[in-house]
């Protein structure tokens, strides 16, 4: 078998150590070694965006990276964006806005939108459309994903406002 290389990586805030072949794709490492199968692989050539994860907060195609390249970095997958019981704002917005159908491309949209809204908290509909135009979806025609971006921004602003309110509340 091919030579194995040690990889230490933080995924969704949990430290993982593993030994992998040099050619092990980050997407395969996450999915099959760590069994975080929320990250999906739609093309394996970096075009569809389904495998998008956040590397130190920035969206990257995990099918275009080797696992060894992720050593020492912090990765966030869709599993790190919220849970069924406590969905994150983007997840919640997609659910409210019917922003998904088969759900296969959705994890890539969630990570992409999460990163985008951190930089651009108040996008217009046009900007929202532009923001998601590097990810392919075959089901929705994107209408409700655009809507979801706007809704997520709204939720985040609301959450922030609530947090501000709490901070401002007298002790």
């Amino acid at each position: 078998m091919s030579e194995l290389f040690p990889v230490s990586v933080s995924v969704n805030g949990v430290a993982h150590g593993a030994s992998v072949p040099a050619r092990r794709l980050l997407s395969d490492f996450l999915r099959h070694d760590l069994r975080l199968t929320g990250t999906h692989v739609g093309c394996e050539h970096g075009v569809c965006g389904a495998c998008t994860v956040l590397l130190d907060g920035a969206p990257v195609r995990s099918c275009l990276m080797f696992a060894v390249q992720a050593a020492g970095h912090e990765i966030t997958t869709v599993e790190g964006c919220g849970t069924i019981e406590a969905m994150g704002p983007v997840q919640q917005a997609l659910t409210e806005s019917h922003g998904l159908q088969c759900g296969f491309c959705t994890p890539g949209f969630i990570t992409t939108i999460t990163a985008y809204l951190r930089e651009n908290p108040e996008p217009t509909a046009e900007e929202a459309r532009e923001a998601i135009s590097g990810n392919l979806c075959r089901c929705t025609g994107y209408q409700n994903i655009v809507k979801s971006v706007l809704r997520a921004a709204e939720i985040i602003r609301g959450t922030d406002a609530e947090a501000d309110d709490r901070q401002e509340a007298p002790a």
Binding site: P21, R31, T37, G38, L100, T106, L136, R138, C139
Partner: protein
């Protein structure tokens, strides 16, 4: 009063799972399974001279290599002709692994299993196959000339030839005051779901039972086909469809070679085996659709009424015909749309080519038929100088003419008989939505600024919900939990929500208590599959019927227990009570307890059903002769024919006067799919359909070269629309219920896609002033058409930029 769920835009119950990474798609299963890879033909047409696996044998991690000669019995035989038809005179199918000859790039030749996919691909790369090249037949034109043959024993490359005629066409054509001819062409495209195909098989040698998971649109179909191929009793095989990342028709084809080989290997090896299709494999070894050449001759009167419609078309069926001739049959019949030509003759030839096989892709032959019909309507309007919408309305079948029998046989072998629809109302809504009558002014204003804009229209009728049947089995637990199983599969349509809405209403229980399972042969062994916009119609009605049976039983048990008449009871929010006397009541879960006479109490509630509880008639058995224990309901819905949905689309496009870039400014949809279970989901289906229609009109095509190489078999080169290419979609709905089924439902899945090429062609033609006859169309192609038009090679339209000339 419980809120009625049917018709409400209920949020999808599957979503929390899918948005948090808790979906389970095929490749999310079987982490310890061996994995498969294939050596596939790099040539479109060749004889296999030799296969040398020697170099591959010492590949680390290799488990096994198989070629056709290793396959025993039915495993190596030709795959089945799924839908035989008398007109399919020369059906040909491939095998799980090619024997002696390959007929398209991508055909599987060698099957490799290894400890993981990396190792399997390592081994596959070292296998050498020697070929003797044969001439490749690519494209309808080449196939039609039949100078070379795909299959030696199929003369003319013709797999099927079918002629249908209604009325005396020749006489009507000869007598028509006006006649026009059109030569039309539609290129290949494909479903291209985000998740490719995949199979995972587990052989339990203790139980001698095979369980396979497939990313399929028909788990019952795969189960039966695999059991037959592997020589297993049906009872020893189950097929489960996990979450599926889209299908759009591609996954209704079955059994794929991989669906036969992966479980076969799992049995031989005594180890789980999995195969996950990669993107290139999906492009070259799954399925395509659409490619047709069409000739239309139409005779019409001074008012634009069609007296005679004579259509000939040549359909590219690719290398094999396992799915029969469903696609060209649909083109031939659904071409008629909302119209009633005086006479109709349609003749098609289905032709072999050395390319990927052709089976239904969302729309399934309708986009081509609608393209032919709608181009014809626009041509008539232009010839006579009549408004394009007006010509259409003069040819409409009217509501009072429903049901309307075209006198043709549809794709289900049953009459092409429309059940309902209000086409004038649909058109009126469309004209209002797009502002049809104001467009001339809009164009005038745009032209002042040097802009070129056009308005297009496309109308269609879609036969949905074809049989033969679907069923549902409902089991109500003592907790009140309602389990619903229906056998067809789900690829994103929200069945767990929509079917739950129906059951919640029928039973009178909270939506949250209803749990729907689809595509699992362990839960429902009788089913057909999800295709032809049929799931809501077929399983929707089946779950309703099954729920009514369960409800009747619950009421009967409650009536006995409460000593009232069942007619006096109602169920709301899971509580059965006497109408007007709500204190006389019983939870539906308690009727489930009482439905199952017990010897052993397993919990507090169950005590009520044990033998010393309550008062029973000692002369009657605990379970009456005509009863069964348990609170269950089962039923099947099997319609006499399809139900026909319809819709009309309009688009405004802008074409750049210099670069010929095409931009869709507005896209308007009127959609009538009968009563809607969940309008939010229906709207989503329409949006997605439109995106695929737009893709098919402007971007997507399969670019084969003369030697049969698919030049754009990747997402880099096959231009699937991103959000930046799909316009905002404006929709409005009509709800003309189907009289054919209890819920009044018509299918909605394919609708959005169907008129895409027709409506965009209509709009571009309107902008440019010369006919558009080939789709899809790129800016380069439009630019070339302009050059040809300027040289006088293409005639101008008669109308001079006015869509509403009378």
């Amino acid at each position: 009063m419980t809120t009625r769920q049917f018709g409400a835009p209920v949020q999808r119950r599957e979503d929390p799972r899918l948005v948090t990474g808790n979906g389970r798609y095929l490749d999310d299963l079987g982490h310890t399974a061996y994995e498969a890879a294939f050596v596939r033909s790099p040539h479109a047409h060749a004889r296999i001279v030799d296969i040398d696996v020697t170099e591959a044998l010492d590949t680390p991690g290799l488990v096994g290599i198989w070629t056709h000669e290793d396959l025993e019995g039915p495993v190596g035989e030709h795959l089945p002709v799924l839908i035989p038809h008398p007109a399919l005179i020369a059906p040909r199918t491939g095998r799980a692994l090619a024997k002696d000859e390959v007929n398209h790039v991508g055909e599987a030749i060698v099957f490799v299993v290894a400890e993981d996919r990396y190792a399997a691909e390592d081994a596959a790369a070292k296998i050498r196959v020697d070929y003797e090249f044969l001439p490749a037949v690519v494209g309808v034109e080449k196939s039609r000339t039949a100078t070379e043959l795909v299959h030696d024993d199929v003369p003319g490359n013709v797999s099927a030839h079918l002629l249908q005629e209604v009325g005396d066409l020749d006489a009507a054509m000869a007598g028509a005051p006006h006649r026009l001819s059109l030569d039309l062409s539609i290129e290949r495209s494909a479903s291209i779901p985000m998740e490719g195909k995949g199979v995972y098989a587990k052989w339990d040698s203790d139980a001698e039972h095979l369980t396979l998971w497939s990313s399929t649109q028909t788990s019952t179909g795969v189960r039966a086909a695999v059991a037959t191929r592997l020589g297993l009793p049906l009872a020893k095989v189950d097929c489960i469809t996990p979450d599926v990342g889209g299908g759009f028709g591609s996954k209704i084809m079955h059994p794929w070679p991989e669906e036969v080989l992966v479980p076969w290997a799992a049995m031989i090896l005594g180890h789980d085996v999995k195969w996950t299709e990669d993107r290139r494999e999906h492009f070259i070894s799954s399925t395509h659709e659409r490619g047709q050449l069409q000739q239309v001759e139409v005779g019409f009167d001074d008012e634009g009424r069609v007296l005679a419609l004579d259509v000939k078309f040549w359909h590219d069926n690719g290398a094999y015909t396992p799915y029969g001739i469903i696609v060209p049959i649909i083109t031939a019949t659904q071409l008629l749309g909302p119209y009633k030509p005086g006479t109709y003759r349609v003749e098609f030839w289905s032709l072999y080519t050395n390319t990927v096989l052709v089976t239904p892709y969302r729309g399934a032959g309708r986009p081509q038929g609608v393209f032919a019909m709608e181009r014809t309507m626009d041509a008539i309007a232009d010839y006579l100088g009549i408004d394009r919408a007006e010509v259409r309305s003069r040819n409409f079948i009217l509501p009072e003419e429903m049901p309307y029998d075209h006198g043709l046989m549809f794709q289900d072998g049953r009459p092409l008989k429309y059940d309902s629809g209000d086409f004038p109302a649909s058109l009126a809504k469309l004209k209002a939505l797009v502002g049809w009558d104001d467009f001339a002014a809009y164009r005038e204003e745009a032209e002042k600024h040097g802009r070129r804009v056009g308005l297009g229209i496309g109308c269609y009728v879609e036969g949905t919900g074809v049989g033969p049947y679907e069923g549902a089995h409902i089991v109500i637990e003592t907790s009140g939990r309602v389990n619903v199983a229906t056998g067809l599969t789900t690829q994103g349509q929200g069945h767990q929500t929509a079917f739950a809405q129906i059951v919640a209403d029928e039973l009178g229980v909270p939506l949250e208590s209803v749990h729907v399972t689809t595509g699992d042969t362990r839960k429902m062994a009788y089913a057909v599959g999800t295709f032809a916009s049929r799931a809501a119609v077929m399983s929707g009605n089946a779950v309703a019927l099954a729920a009514r049976n369960a409800r009747a039983k619950a009421l009967k048990i409650a009536a006995d227990a409460l000593e009232v008449s069942a007619d006096d009871l109602e169920i709301e929010d899971g509580v059965i009570s006497v109408k007007g006397a709500p204190d006389t009541r019983m939870d539906i879960g308690m009727t489930a307890v009482l439905s199952n006479p017990l010897r052993y109490a397993f919990d507090e509630a169950a005590k009520a059903a044990t033998q010393f509880a309550g008062t029973f008639d000692p002369d009657k058995p605990p379970v009456a002769d005509d009863e069964e224990p348990g609170l269950e309901g089962k039923d099947f819905y099997s319609p006499t024919q399809a139900t026909f949905a319809n819709g009309m689309h309009a688009a405004v496009v802008e074409t750049d006067p210099v670069t010929a870039e095409i931009r869709i400014l507005r896209y308007c949809v009127i959609h009538d799919c009968g009563t809607m279970i969940n309008p939010m989901i229906v709207e989503g289906q329409v949006h997605g359909g439109v995106a695929q229609g737009v893709g098919g009109a402007l971007y997507e095509r399969m670019v084969y070269d003369e030697s049969g190489q698919l030049l754009n078999a990747s997402f880099m080169d096959f231009l699937m629309p991103y959000a930046s290419e799909v316009p905002h979609v404006e929709t409005d709905h009509l709800e003309t219920p189907s009289p054919l089924n209890p819920l009044g439902i018509k299918g909605a899945g394919e609708a959005g896609t169907i008129p895409g090429s027709a409506v965009i062609a209509s709009a571009i033609e309107d902008a440019e002033g010369f006919p558009i006859t080939r789709m899809p169309i790129s800016p380069v192609e439009l630019w070339e058409l302009r050059q040809r038009h300027e040289r006088g090679e293409i005639p101008s339209l008669r109308r001079a930029h006015s869509t509403t000339t009378e």
